[in-house]
Symmetry: C2
Subunit: 453 residues, 2 copies
């Protein structure tokens, strides 16, 4: 018996499969995909164009086809769905859970969307999907599914099991039964375990756990993720402002939220605009890279003007130019380090906030320590090659740059956060550019005055 | 009825609580913590020293105390546990699930560890913990818990429910029953839902699902996380090389793994060495920042020597110095962008790998496009202020820097990956420093030759 059924999507299998698709080899396609998980088939189909994908999909069971559609990545899905009529899509959507169905519809044009909804066989599902489409994608309401098991607090265990039986086909994963009052307000949960271990006549009112964590429809996906992580939840019920149970978010969706937001932050830090990956085409990649490169360029032009102001100093002591890279590299590094620490503490949800002043004071202390060490190192290095005077100027300037860059790196994310902008923007090329300009200004100003002493 | 029981850890409550602790106000402490989740109490206690924490803990129910201990952050826990005898700790560990218990013991010295294990009341748990301590922390074996529900394939549903009843107290969360043969080899699972909906006499053999995903004890935590994310699993069974079921990993642990590794990568990118946060003390923060600052400094010194080689050119055309910041900023940005894309694609688990040559070729195309746009922009900007000659030199040099930096940014992470080093190291100050030096060398070389044409 095979226990580890993860499917190896090898290059050689891909080629075999490609040939089978070209030759319309139904037997090979069906046999080789038998027992393969929908997630893997969907990854496989992403290697084919919409027409071939459609051909393969139609050879499979309708439910598996629906699963595959819900798992395709968004770009592929959009191209793929264009090859289906609204009636065909509705037949698939009838088999997809409401949260995924709403996500799929959200991608489509309003007209197509309406046509599909009108063609759904399951009227309750159609109503649910319309409700879900009302929510923004990044709040609890936009993440939740309508599928869940709901039990009235006045029921007993047998009635509850009956409800589970009725819903078993619609609700793919369930861990608990949500207990509501006659007004549909959420009162608590009963874990499935307790349903199994309770006597059939036991009243739900006697076994439910009222100490539960729930979220409102309007709470952000970040808040939901943080709650589920903190309290180790596999699902969280969603309530509306009246306290009525309106849906449920499962941890697999939150795992995706966390992975995507980490990805997004990494891209911001790397100075990539928009969600790109190496596999994207050359134009997409170029467009993603250019914006921040141009910002850096503009910073460089401003820097050039700054240095221009001190042209006379440079002409007298041309060795001053040697240390421009050192100064701005250190300034940039210090700025990014400071910004990253602030961004991290803003993202964390420690309840006890330290004030901005405490942050600044601490940053100042840390940067004084760093600055002293770096200044001493640089003094030694420069002294050996350029003598005392230049070593003195460069190390004092470096010290000042470290202080200023760390204050700037601390201030910018705090400011962005106050303005409602994602402070992570400050951990990328933006802060580097700002620190570059700052570094040059500080370096030449300090040098100018020290040389005229 | 309160449905949203998340606890507000306000500054004012903290002060009230602090006063109550000082005055040993048992009534206030007990009342105000009644019904509060262990996660929140543990966050609260992290604000107190070990002695006060111990005082509070001992006022609470022993099981809640055990939960709190397992949730404390590692630094706090280590200080805190030092105030207990091995006997006292063993009494708490008897109430903690095996995976968390093993993590706690892993932190302690071998002698203390052995004493605690010898004092455990639950002998099965002691044996389990000793087994778990054998595994590295970052593989499936080190993440798994021994608590799970195991059913023999020859049982029927009633026998299975009996086993659930027997284990109900030990296993905190369960979603499925794992089905094994007489040799304890994993055959499949039965979701709890199916247990509820099946007839008591139904044989497990007739209802279990054999198409499941499992992991071996030696698989890395990254692989486990990727499988659980991809297949939307709330728990994954762990087997040994003989295929025997030895444990289970739940999604809450994976959520922590993903969050921590995203955090770690962010720190690497920001040039922070070691796991720090803003709240750490000044010395810790300084130590975390210095290493990469010193690398940057060394790069700056090398850069200074490079520029020194071209001192004559600089003396003739001092305006060359103006564009040093522009050149190295662009070089650094391009390098980081390229490295980030490679690191991302190395981390992703697309089954179809593109070859290194394809990557290079594509990078080259993208950077030629970027380079042309940037060169044109810079030509215009410099032409307006410094005339044609310098504009020509700077823009050609910039173009070359873009090409070289993107090739370097692509090569370094690939190389690190080949050497078995985390390629993410290449997305931080390391690549910036390398690109700085490269940029200077390319800029002055190009300028030197173009001015002598």
């Amino acid at each position: 018996v095979e226990t580890n059924v993860t499917f190896e999507l090898s290059q050689s299998y891909l080629e075999q499969f490609r040939e089978a698709v070209e030759q319309r080899d139904v037997a090979f396609i069906r046999t080789s995909l038998d027992g393969v998980k929908s997630e893997d088939i969907s990854a496989l189909l992403e290697e084919f164009d919409a027409e071939d994908s459609r051909y393969v999909l139609e050879l499979l069971d309708h439910q598996i086809g629906a699963d595959i559609i819900s798992m395709l990545d968004e770009d592929h899905r959009l191209k793929f769905l264009a090859h289906f009529t609204p009636e065909e899509l509705a037949a698939y959507l009838d088999l997809i859970e409401t949260d995924d169905a709403a996500d799929i519809l959200q991608q489509l044009e309003v007209k197509t969307r309406e046509e599909i909804i009108a063609n759904l066989q399951n009227e309750e599902k159609a109503r649910y999907i319309v409700e879900l489409l009302r929510y923004e994608e990044d709040v609890a309401g936009g993440l939740m599914a309508k599928e869940l098991i709901r039990a009235n607090v006045n029921w007993n265990v047998v009635q509850c099991v009956e409800e589970i039986r009725r819903q078993a086909e619609n609700v793919e994963k369930f861990y608990s039964v949500y207990v509501v009052d006659d007004g549909d307000r959420l009162l608590g949960i009963v874990p499935l375990k307790d349903i199994i271990l309770s006597n059939a006549r036991t009243r739900i009112a006697d076994i439910f756990d009222p100490d539960i964590v729930s979220v409102y429809t309007y709470q952000s996906e970040g808040e939901v993720a943080e709650l589920m992580r903190k309290y180790d939840l596999e699902a969280i019920p969603v309530i509306n402002v009246q306290g009525r149970l309106v849906g449920r978010i499962t941890v697999d969706d939150i795992l995706d939220v966390i992975t995507e937001s980490a990805e997004e932050e990494r891209q911001i830090m790397a100075g990539l605009a928009g969600d790109v990956e190496e596999a994207d085409n050359v134009l997409v990649l170029t467009r993603a890279r250019l914006p921040w490169l141009i910002v850096g360029l503009a910073g460089g032009i401003v820097g050039a003007h700054f240095i221009g102001i001190f042209e006379e100093d440079l002409a007298k002591v041309s060795a001053l130019a040697f240390f421009i890279p050192l100064i701005i590299a250190t300034g940039g590094n210090v700025g990014i380090q400071s910004a990253a620490l602030v961004v991290q503490s803003l993202a964390g949800s420690t309840a006890f906030e330290t004030s901005a002043w405490t942050k600044f004071f601490k940053t100042l202390l840390v940067s004084i320590l760093n600055g002293i060490v770096l200044a001493l190192l640089v003094y030694t290095a420069v002294y050996l090659f350029q003598g005392n005077r230049l070593a003195f100027v460069v190390s004092i300037a470096l010290f000042c740059v470290v202080i200023f860059a760390s204050l700037l790196g601390t201030a910018v994310p705090l400011l962005l956060d106050k303005l409602g902008i994602n402070p992570a923007v400050a951990s990328g090329p933006f802060i580097t550019t700002a620190c570059d300009i700052l570094g040059i200004a500080v370096y030449f100003t300090v040098a100018h005055f020290l040389y005229h002493l």
